[in-house]
Point group: C2
Chain length 385, copies 2
Amino acid sequence: MNETYGDVIDAVRAAIGRNSAALHEPIFLGNERLYVDECINSSFVSSAGKFVDRFEQDLANYTGASFAVATVNGTSALHLALLLAGVQPEDEVLVPALSFIATANAVSYRGAIPHFVDIEENSLGLDPRALRVFLEASTRQEEGLCLNSETGRVIRAVVPMHTFGHPCDVESIVDVAEEFNITVVEDAAESLGSFSAGKHTGTHGLLGTLSFNGNKIITTGGGGAILTNDAQLARKAKHLATTAKTHHKWEYSHDEIGFNYRMPNLNAALGCAQLEQLESFRSSKRTLFERYQSAFENFENMKIVQEPVNTSSNYWLQSLLLSEDLVGQRDELLSALNDAGLQSRPIWNLLPRQIPFRNSPCASIPVATQIERRVINLPSSAGLA
Amino acid sequence: MNETYGDVIDAVRAAIGRNSAALHEPIFLGNERLYVDECINSSFVSSAGKFVDRFEQDLANYTGASFAVATVNGTSALHLALLLAGVQPEDEVLVPALSFIATANAVSYRGAIPHFVDIEENSLGLDPRALRVFLEASTRQEEGLCLNSETGRVIRAVVPMHTFGHPCDVESIVDVAEEFNITVVEDAAESLGSFSAGKHTGTHGLLGTLSFNGNKIITTGGGGAILTNDAQLARKAKHLATTAKTHHKWEYSHDEIGFNYRMPNLNAALGCAQLEQLESFRSSKRTLFERYQSAFENFENMKIVQEPVNTSSNYWLQSLLLSEDLVGQRDELLSALNDAGLQSRPIWNLLPRQIPFRNSPCASIPVATQIERRVINLPSSAGLA
């Protein structure tokens, strides 16, 4: 490459200064201790309590979803959302070929089969054109269902994911999905605070899911949420997340196989305090993006990934996109950055190459295949700005 | 009955005094706020952190298990333990006919089928004699496996559960299970602090599981743990609970379908403080039992449930066992108690009668069928003693 590894290290340091350079560290400078103490004093630390109710209401208000249902983590939220979307065992669910493994795991928990589709370079998310090409070439419609022509299985849902917080082209994906009778469940685990066409990510499909894991823009320790505008689905989400116990003064009657998926009040207390600071974290991350962009603006062979047109990203994880001819140097550059004390990571391994999904169906994925070798995440904590 | 509902209410009041009479309230009078603050200050609130390590070590020390692996709740612990015990989809797993529904749900998450077996009145837990009668009459051995003669399915595991904290006859169950080549996975969700023949519940089989839900003897908000003496199983439990990610400086490689099941450090911080008080909670609960027993000692038609011989119970939930002729009056008595401000609950509905398990196989369960109508849980908080 034209620039040396030393130039890259200097550029990162120019953006973040002498700060500690972990990939992502949370910040607890708000009401975290106050609310958590209040939660403990109330003695309601478990799955019922005012912080859970408030956190759900605050999330709904912020995202514009009619309902938010807090869960024990983002993976459980996605598992439940797929179930609520009507995904049945042996169905296929379309998943971007590049995502964190939980996206595909959640499909498998439902007994369904992830089917991988290509992404686009612009958003790093599911490509609506690749989706259409696959659906036109490889599926048929039968009684209002989309069937995989080869396997005969129902393709029930598609799960667009907003990589590193950058919204994918979810409007076009929703259009294609509607045309082919496929339900959209958005995996917005990384994109709380990100908007596409003015609408919050996770609110474009029938259901969307969030994550508040320790490395996310806000954290509840571990936690997630389901977003939906459908009152009945929201009610059912709560029911299934609390062992599907029917309402009775004392009787233990359960009307289907439920889960222990509700977020504890203790974690929601932390979440309420974190959510109060979301706009400040988001603003810092956008500032950090500008610093990175300016530090790398004259580099010939790499660029900082920018939010797509008509979107507003939370810039959860900053990322460097190497040009195609640098594919072979990614790991050396990662070593150089990490050796210099700048914690850096590659994008995930391709899902269809992960051991548990090697036998899953996979459409043509030329873009995902080369993007996998070209993306490096850089230190991204809100505290760096 | 000979005693009136008023007599029962008076006896409960004699045991607990004028205290608030919720069924079960946690107590946070130790280091809870200190440790949780320390956890937030460390910025490690999620699935890694010193409180998780310490909580696991403290649990191992207390129970005498070689290893404890903390999970997001007791249901996830049992799901994972069944998987680690080798339970395959379409296997059958023997489960007591009277238990909280999570015991059977966890079996179904694995794609396996719960097969219900009778309990004994003495412990309210799985009856080793009924287990043997069923296995002798309805199974055959083939290549070291126990097969259900009727369905042809492998009976892979048995899940004894220690109802309300009282140890069931787990030694005899282990003997029967070994004889028939069935693995024992103990559901000790309710019995942290309970010992059978001097050994902590959850440590008699290959694996055992605990719960720290808000209503348990100690709570982490939501949480659970797996106990085992097998180093390899413990390692695998951690691996599967953290998305089965393989160890690498930066690469995202996962070698099987894993889960997001690790306990967050925030919850473990609460757990460490609660565990320091376990002996005091246990002692209060045993005192409360004595008060209840003395208040009800002259009642002719009901008695307070007592720990079985050769066990030491945590007396998590106090319970009243009605005589057989009072079966028809259980609900009226429940109404009278609850109307008097004494929160009371019946034992669970029979699992084979719950909607999701109506079609599951079920052995002869005469004892469970009548015990279901005869047990009432009384206010049981440690703070009442």
